[in-house]
Symmetry: C2
Subunit: 345 residues, 2 copies
């Protein structure tokens, strides 16, 4: 049994989801995979920071958030460290980066990842920014420091789209990736299939907590474009940037469009595509009318899906959740297990 | 770069598919995954047996089969060994078991696997017999000899259903598995959806090469039941036998049944299910009427699919090919890479 010490940068929804999984399933994971994951540090901008080299009980962390709304009442040898101090000062083997970021600068998450790799620590991140904007640099830095960088949670939350593509399918020759990579827009389109107007469907998505107050990132396809860049760079060895993705959102889709597709036995989906054509890579996010027989056509609601078109296996499709606190927490577990597989013995 | 020496037991369709992949993609696999797979022995009941400790060129093996119909004209230091001599006498690290077997005794494949494990050699097998009938014993033998036993090709050919379930999803708590695990019956049911009678659809499946002259194993659900046993034992820690699977085939499904389902917005599928209920495991293969919104309902033709219902991620579905020479050859590649991951460094 190998023990890995974790420093969690960010303790919002995803961090708490991860803590819950380690609290409830830590022993079972240990038994199944031969690895124990022990939280030694938590650093959250709002909730406070703790470091205890002998370990922090996830149950205690979760109870403090629930009862006090923050972590500052928990006793620990070291309190109040910022992210940089936590990353460089804690004796953690793995930095779990779950703070916040954007798809323009990638900060502050990218700095966190850089500090971690430079300090010779493995990284698991659920933040799209660093991976979509700076993956080549970070992967290189990881190689030089002989550590791993993992990012399962950046695409389809805990549905293991990246590990499936990288560990299982890359050897079969991935020539095209197509996916429903954003749950909010798929939820809206599904509601419109049921007869709701775009405005009503968006409002319902906001009520359900799928869409934010400003839905631009989702409905204009920016979130999906970030995932397209990540998939192209991680799985197809490309060096795309956000600007390389031809992008159209769903705001122009009307009930008439939905009806016309239905009459033709088709369905609108917001599809992210990466494809090699004549030696060139083409990447896009756009609404596409799919025949009902297409494996992505029946993916409804907030569910996500991805189809890998491969040379040796033809099409392989993975369908699963695209968001959620526990689901994204599990993406981190998936990354921790990948680091363990890469490093064992 | 680590080199693994392979002895291939069986050089029919799957063995030739594997040789083709190693011939065409060996260098690329090496670069991507840091492992070289070198064939040193081939033993086939019909085509002859060869052993060359410095390696056998897959291109030469394939050309011999194509030109001569057998391997006996290829020069090699050792010729004519039987399976037992090849397994124990060759300096192979991995025995790739692709001979033949049945779901009653599991022989001769099971003996091949036992000899390999006892000789301290890893095993990758595409034969359902040993895994469905003797997995507990063989897994124990592998542990004692500190080697790996892999069997991706026994379910959904090269679609990585087993590795996805074991390496990525088992930690999320698999509580139910449901799948379309037999391509022949799914092809027949899809033809019947299109208006063909059962008899016509079966005949077309035989013409297309999906169904054998005696289709019993497919249409009575025996093949799918073997896969149900494999999934239960490999992924859910059970010790089921074939007799534990409640089994009904598709021979009783009529065009009237298909029409009645369609009128209700449903579709007949032959579904393998493993489920824990009240602490008890229930396993079955039977025709089920699925609503069209079900992720397995839209899986058509000879394609296979599997849905893992998990505690942490909800439903995760994988769709891909269920048979084929290259596809099953790739299942072996997937197993070789899993052995490499388990053993590297």
């Amino acid at each position: 049994m190998k023990t890995y010490r974790l420093a969690l940068i960010g303790f919002g929804n995803v961090g708490q989801g991860l803590a819950q999984i380690l609290r409830d399933r830590g022993p079972e994971l240990g038994e199944r995979y031969g690895a124990t994951f022990q939280i030694v540090a938590v650093c959250d901008f709002l909730q406070g920071s703790l470091y205890n080299p002998v370990g922090l009980d996830p149950a205690v962390l979760l109870a403090a958030v629930e009862n006090d709304g923050h972590l500052r009442n928990i006793e620990a040898p070291q309190q109040g460290w910022d992210a940089e101090e936590t990353i460089s000062g804690s004796k953690a083997d793995i930095i779990v980066e779950m703070s916040y970021t954007n798809l323009e600068t990638g900060e502050p998450a990218t700095s966190h990842v850089r500090w971690a790799l430079q300090a010779g620590k493995h990284v698991a991140t659920t933040n799209k920014g660093p991976i979509a904007l700076h993956y080549a640099e970070l992967a290189d830095m990881a190689r030089q420091n002989k550590v791993e960088i993992e990012a399962e949670g950046t695409v389809m939350s805990g549905t293991p789209a990246i590990h499936l593509g990288r560990d299982q399918l890359a050897g079969a020759g991935i020539k095209r990736i197509q996916g429903i990579l954003n749950g909010t827009t798929n939820y809206i389109l599904t509601q419109m299939e049921g007869g709701a107007s775009y405005a009503d469907a968006l409002r319902e998505a906001q009520v359900q907590g799928y869409a934010e107050a400003d839905p631009t990132g989702d409905v204009e396809g920016i979130d999906a474009a970030g995932k397209v860049v990540i998939l192209a760079n991680l799985l197809m060895g490309e060096s795309l940037t956000m600007a390389d993705v031809k992008r159209t959102g769903i705001t122009g889709i009307t009930l008439e469009d939905v009806g016309a597709a239905r009459a033709a036995g088709e369905r609108w989906k917001l599809i992210g595509t990466i494809e090699r054509k004549n030696g060139q890579i083409q990447a896009s996010v756009q609404p596409v009318r799919l025949p009902l027989s297409h494996p992505l056509a029946s993916v409804s609601g907030a569910t996500n899906a991805i189809t890998y078109a491969t040379d040796l296996l033809g099409d392989v499709t993975l369908v699963g959740p695209g968001a959620g606190r526990i689901e994204t927490g599990y993406a981190v577990v998936s990354d921790l297990l990948a680091i363990h597989r890469a490093k064992k013995q």
